[in-house]
């Protein structure tokens, strides 16, 4: 379960930081801040390595008793830090990698948004946080976006077919999904967390 995601600019200030509201947010902010040192260490260690291919994914930065912290750095020295609940042992390395890749794609889209000035805080009206990596069939999807319209495929292969989340101007989320049993619907909603910011 990803409990906190942060996007840090190359000057080491946060561009976007979001955590589950049920927990003490300050603790996560502090955790992300301390993980920046580890990120810098890894980057400089990679710089000295003679290997030609240097990965963007940094891997597990450090584990604590409740949480694990993963890191990723882009070519423009923007860092992504993700804090994950340790109790979710089903979360595999390549799932974390794919989460980071999606985050990287979303960040690139934010950069290409003409209304976004690089270096500003990322103000997204909608943040969809992947809560459960093991939701039925779901590729989780994190999308901090600027645009008012985005059709986000949330769970492509969960029972009943693809669900779509559609944020609209009036801040209401229209959750389109095929009609099915209310129990499955409940399960699905609890397996996503929608934050209206």
């Amino acid at each position: 379960m990803a409990v906190c995601i942060a996007v840090i600019a190359k000057e080491n200030y946060p561009l976007y930081i979001r955590s589950t509201p049920t927990e003490n947010e300050l603790k996560f902010h502090y955790m992300v801040h301390t993980s920046l040192d580890v990120v810098d260490e890894k980057i400089s260690a990679m710089g000295k390595a003679l290997v030609d291919q240097r990965e963007l994914y940094l891997g597990l930065l450090y584990p604590t008793e409740d949480y694990k912290v993963y890191g990723y750095v882009t070519n423009s020295k923007v860092k992504f830090v993700m804090v994950v609940d340790s109790s979710n042992t089903a979360l595999r390395d390549n799932e974390i990698r794919s989460m980071f890749r999606k985050l990287h794609n979303s960040y690139t889209d934010v950069m290409c948004n003409p209304f976004y000035n690089p270096g500003d805080r990322i103000q997204s009206r909608w943040a969809l946080l992947p809560v459960s990596a093991s939701s039925p069939g779901g590729p989780y999807f994190l999308c901090p976006i600027q645009s008012r319209w985005a059709l986000l495929p949330v769970s492509v292969s969960s029972p009943g077919g693809p669900y779509f989340l559609c944020p609209i101007q009036s801040r209401w989320a229209l959750l389109l999904c095929p009609i099915q049993s209310s129990r499955a619907f409940d399960n699905m909603v609890t397996s996503m967390m929608i934050q209206v910011c």
Partner: protein, 173 residues
């Protein structure tokens, strides 16, 4: 291919639109006693910097989008090589023809048949008009360098169309 020419047309229109040379700028524009002359030159300089800043923003976005998957840049020269190869191919469908450096922070990128100048002339005709067609590209280079962590000053010069040189100055800090 139709795709490449779309950008060229857009660029031509951009330059034509932003190069609005207003011979009578009006009272608000220039506050000097030299009046019209000052207005004329400030109008021109402003258009160049507007074009350059547009290129800068595009370059920033491209600098984020193009280098992917691997942390490829070990030093400045790698970044410049990326500009000459990947960026130029993505925007102009060809590579830069030569890259020279003095290893002290000055790089000269030469393109022997710059696509934005190619349809204009071949030789010395329109030499005075050429610089404004290079402003956007200078900004593009500067923006891409900025995203990749390098502050620079990019200028362009044309000796004879369509050969042009972009000079990148990276100040040593």
């Amino acid at each position: 291919m139709a795709d490449t020419v779309l950008f060229e047309f857009l660029h031509t229109e951009m330059v034509a639109e932003l190069w609005a040379h207003d011979p009578d700028p009006g009272p608000g524009v220039s506050a000097g006693s030299r009046g019209e002359e000052v207005g004329a030159t400030t109008g021109q300089k402003m258009s160049l910097s507007v074009l350059e800043s547009m290129g800068f923003r595009v370059g920033q976005a491209l600098g984020e989008r193009l280098p992917r998957e691997t942390l490829a840049f070990r030093e400045e020269l790698d970044v410049l090589k990326f500009l000459c190869k990947d960026l130029w191919v993505a925007v102009f469908q060809k590579q830069m023809d030569s890259l020279r450096t003095n290893h002290q922070g000055t790089y000269v990128l030469q393109d022997n048949s710059f696509p934005l100048l190619l349809p204009m002339a071949s030789g010395l005709q329109y030499l005075e008009e050429a610089p404004k067609f290079l402003a956007f590209t200078c900004g593009l280079l500067r923006g891409a360098l900025c995203t990749l962590g390098i502050e620079s000053v990019v200028t362009a010069s044309v000796a004879a169309l369509p050969v042009c040189k972009f000079q990148v100055l990276i100040p040593k800090s």
